[in-house]
């Protein structure tokens, strides 16, 4: 699991890293050197894991990462040994000090036997994806409460994030549907997913409203009122 998430973080969240880590320089360093990227120490993974969990984008990011890998990626495994993790990573760079035996195939052999438990697992997993946005809502409410109604850089960023996430998720609905296509209740799950996202964006709009960012009052349109045209021409003064 850690590997997948690390992958996800790697692919999608440089911005999140910048915002959430206390030392952006360490992450910049992390980002710049591909060498070091592969040798992430377990505590770093832990930090990133934490970030990914805390950040509302973790779920969506995961969904997107799976999209690229296709069905193969559905089969994931938890590998705790560092050496193996590195071996997997080496696939891309074609660099390895481990000599593979002859006939070794890097591609996993598909498991053709379908079992009942697997089906349940898929179903569970799909529900997880579908309920993700809804699960975010209490968290968002908490953040909303904490950030207050002041206009300053952090609350604005929070609101932007809150508004942008659901919109982004709604725009990539097709990818999510692809993810859910193995499920029986695909349509229901899709509906729940989109309702969750809509609720999230409604929450963001409510937040904007309470911060006074929505042009709902007459004063917001004051700047656009043209000065009235004068009908009469008048002049004169004291008799010179």
């Amino acid at each position: 699991m850690s590997d997948r998430i690390v992958d996800g973080v790697r692919k999608h969240t440089p911005s999140i890293l910048l915002f959430f880590d206390e030392s952006p320089f360490s992450l910049l360093w992390l980002w710049l050197s591909t060498e070091k990227r592969k040798q992430i120490k377990s505590e770093k993974i832990g930090i990133i894991l934490y970030i990914a969990m805390a950040s509302p984008g973790g779920q969506g990011g995961g969904a997107v990462s799976t999209r690229g890998a296709g069905a193969r990626r559905m089969k994931w495994a938890l590998e705790l040994s560092l050496g193996n993790a590195r071996g997997r990573g080496d696939r891309q760079s074609n660099q390895g000090d481990v000599m593979y035996p002859i006939g070794y195939s890097d591609k996993p052999v598909p498991d053709t036997s379908i079992q009942e438990t697997d089906k349940n697992l898929v179903e569970k997993r799909c529900w997880d994806v579908a309920l993700g946005p809804l699960k975010q809502i209490p968290m968002n409410l908490f953040i909303m409460y904490m950030s207050g109604n002041t206009i300053s850089i952090f609350p604005i960023m929070m609101v932007c994030m809150m508004a942008w996430r659901p919109i982004q998720a709604l725009m990539s609905m097709s990818a999510t549907f692809k993810l859910l296509e193995n499920s029986n209740q695909q349509w229901l799950q899709g509906l729940v997913y989109s309702v969750g996202n809509l609720l999230g964006s409604a929450l963001a709009i409510y937040k904007c409203q309470s911060m006074g960012l929505l042009p709902t009052h007459s004063s917001d349109w004051l700047a656009f009122i043209e000065p009235p045209q004068r009908m009469e021409i008048m002049g004169g003064g004291m008799v010179l």
Binding site: L32, S210, P228, L240
Partner: protein
Amino acid sequence: MYPPSLVVTFTKKSSVKMAKLTSLFVISLSFFCISEAVFEDQVGKFDWRQQYVGKTLFAHFESNTQSSKKMFVATDKNIFASFNSRTGDLLWRHVDKTGPEGSIDILLLHGQDALMVVGDGRLLRSWDTNIGGLNWEAVLDTGSFQAACFVAIQDTVKLVAVLKKAALSLHYLSNGHQKWVENLPDSDAVQYQAVYSGGEEEVYVLGVVPNSHLTIIAYSLEDGEIIKQVTTLALCVVVGQGVLMCVDPATLALYTLPIQAEETPEFSQILLQVSPGFQPVLVSSQPHPARSPLSEFFLQLGPDHHVLLQLNADGYTIAPLRDFQPAFLVSFATTGKKTVAAVMTPKNETLNYSAVSNPRWLSPLSFPLQACAINLFSVDSGRRLLDTTVLFPLELNGGKPHALYVHAFLKKDDSVGYRVLVQTQDHALTFIQQPGRVVWTREEALADVVTMEMVDLPLTGTQAELEGEFGKKADGLFPMVLKRLSSQVTLLQAWLAHLWKLFYEARKPRGQVKNEVTIETLSRDEFNLQKMMVMVTASGKLFGIDSKSGSILWKHYLENVQPNAAFKLIVQRTTAHFPHPPQCTLLIKDKDTGLATLHVFNPIFGRKSHIALPALPRPILQSLLLPVIDQDYAKVLLLVDDQYKVTAFPSTKNVLQQLQEMASSIFFYLIRSDQGNLSGFRLRKDLSTERIWEVVLPTEVQKIVAVKGKRPNEHVHSQGRVMGDRSVLYKYLNPNLLAVVTESTDTHPERAFVGVFLVDGVTGRIIHEAVQRKARGPVHFVHSENWVVYEYWNTKSRRNEFSVLELFEGTELYNSTVFSSLDRPHLPQVLQQTYIFPSPITTMEATLTEKGITSRHLLVGLPSGAILSLPKMFLDPRRPEVVTEHSREENLIPYAPEMPIRTEWFINYNQTVARVKGIYTAPSGLESTCLVVAYGLDIYQTRVYPSKQFDVLKDDYDYVLISSVLFALFFATMISKRLAQVKLLNRAWR
């Protein structure tokens, strides 16, 4: 600067409006940028001040040596000043009270002491001429001043004699104590005119009984006893050994009479030939108070005819020495033992410009010149002294020479050298040195500016050429390409020249770069911060001044302007309509006859435009500038005569047609202060008018002091004010609103009042009426946007108070697209608040910007000469007494009755403007910046930024740091990119 609690409330605002964000940004800038004053290194960067003294009445030079540099003048503005005669700079200046209370009756100079009689014989003052300090001041007895002279005892000047209407008094020169005072006999009948002392033990007083006889009274110096009294016959001077020389305009004869004669002397009469209608004038000279006057004197027989005469030793016969015709002015000058006569004569030759040694300020375009020559003549013989001719150019349109002050001195070879100060009718002073070098010129007419306008400068020649290219019709493809290429080349040339100039100027010290503005190089800068100030002065002289440097670029003297004439300056066409030149019109109304004349000129070059002027046979009451333009883009000026008929200028067919079409929507109002009458008129199609309303304010109770409409070039960006609950309170922006201020005729402190009437100028409807009881003028007020601010003296509490009136339409607009005074059924809501101001004020004006987004400030001229920039935010009738959530939201400052004066708000730091009479504000091309000119005795020009410079980088912006950081980052990315590539490649090989 602001209460700290307010700053906190601002940062803790609970909600902010989206649409308000931009304006909020502006406000917050003004809120947080605490310092308003200029920094030390900004002094003089975009502001300048010029100091003037007014029309010279008396002028004296310090001493008769070649090296002396000081000269002293006393002027009609009650100013005693000292100039450096080498540069014309002011050394020091004493500004006395305005009006007759401070008027200078006479200025006498002896050694280090300058004696002055002030306020029609009220005070006698002695000044130290070295430092300009007051030695002593003595209060004189009442009685109007007639004459004064120094009195010497045994060759040393110790006393000064002051002759009043009914008394003669002697004062010690050292401490001002009175030696004696004597009443003059028969002071009701006899007009005492002159006092004379020739160094003997007697003081002579001369009195005239018109058409009857002369009285000469001799007083003893010691105790003021009348030694003798002689009564004889008619304008007199003392010549030679106590011989009275009189000229009688009635009989046109010259009379001589010895003063010291024992018995009643006989007049000897000499008949004169005088040009008709001219009163002959005698000019004599007494080089030293302890000695007798010269026996030579000048007699003026015509406007430019003078005769030098000599009284023979016998005291009765007169010998003519020399006849000067034509001669503008004559003057005596003494140095050591020698006395010379300086005579100014016109020369008919035209001047070669290369001969003029100082041609920088003389542009051949604007000043037609006439040569004048000054020669010195020996007084004894009347012969012309060799090598004393001064030939200098005199502006033809500057008026005739008015006075000549000669500073003669002995050169090393014992010959007489001299410098002259020429005063012309336009109050200008010119200091000329041999051989005809104009050392300096002071335009003292600028001490009395009546009205002014600021006009945009024209585009540069190349810019104008480009404009012209697009304006012309196409004449084939190839020529057009050629034309385009050529204009691009000229643009490139201009740019290169500009770069070269920048480079060249950067090497020069800062002081030298200035003073290089000429009328030819004048062009608009990119932010339109430099403008042409067109100033109209009371003497009838017009000036064009560059607003950036303060240098006078053109001047034009209008002759035959009455001293009490009323002026109205109108900009008919701005510089925006190339190739039509800009056009200004000055309406001059003669108060006595009521007849008006128009002077149409180009405000950039000052040249008179040759446009057919309308005939104005009837007295003109008012003028009205319409936004209607003719085919030449000149706005139409309507002139209303005393029969309420209207004359249009220009009055082409096109204009008349336009006027007929829109006649029903043209209204004008006239206010007759003497009748307490306000009336409104509507234009008819045949250019006659009909009276549609009239308001009468009874003159027995109150009189109309002033009326102000809104400035036509004022823009209001925001149509309302945002309330704390995010609703809008719309402003009542009536463009036809007039603020009429009245003062009560009863000046008793308990019954005096000040009234402010807000009247609609189209319908005559009184929108609001505010009467301030127990208040007295003078009322200064500003009317702008939807508010009127006025200042008055509270007679009960004895303090100055500011009051502000603001008009609002309410939370809904009646008609948001058009404003018609004829269709406004609802009266506006009026809010008012009053504050205590700790100082009296002399004038008030509001800042003005291009789009009206920037917050407004009031510019208040104080009697101390400071100009205060007072934020309008402090004068807001919505300032709450109890602070609420909503008022905090609106950034309203809690009400405090006292208005603060903070020294940082003085926009002119220590450059005080003496006797501020008016403040003129003009918008610049930058929204944040407003150009300000304060005029009075001095002229001060600066820029103000009411909301700080939100659209300009600061002066101390660190360009070097920012650009070096940018470059460093850029190169760092380039290098790291390259390194990363190398590293990737290496790893791929591994």
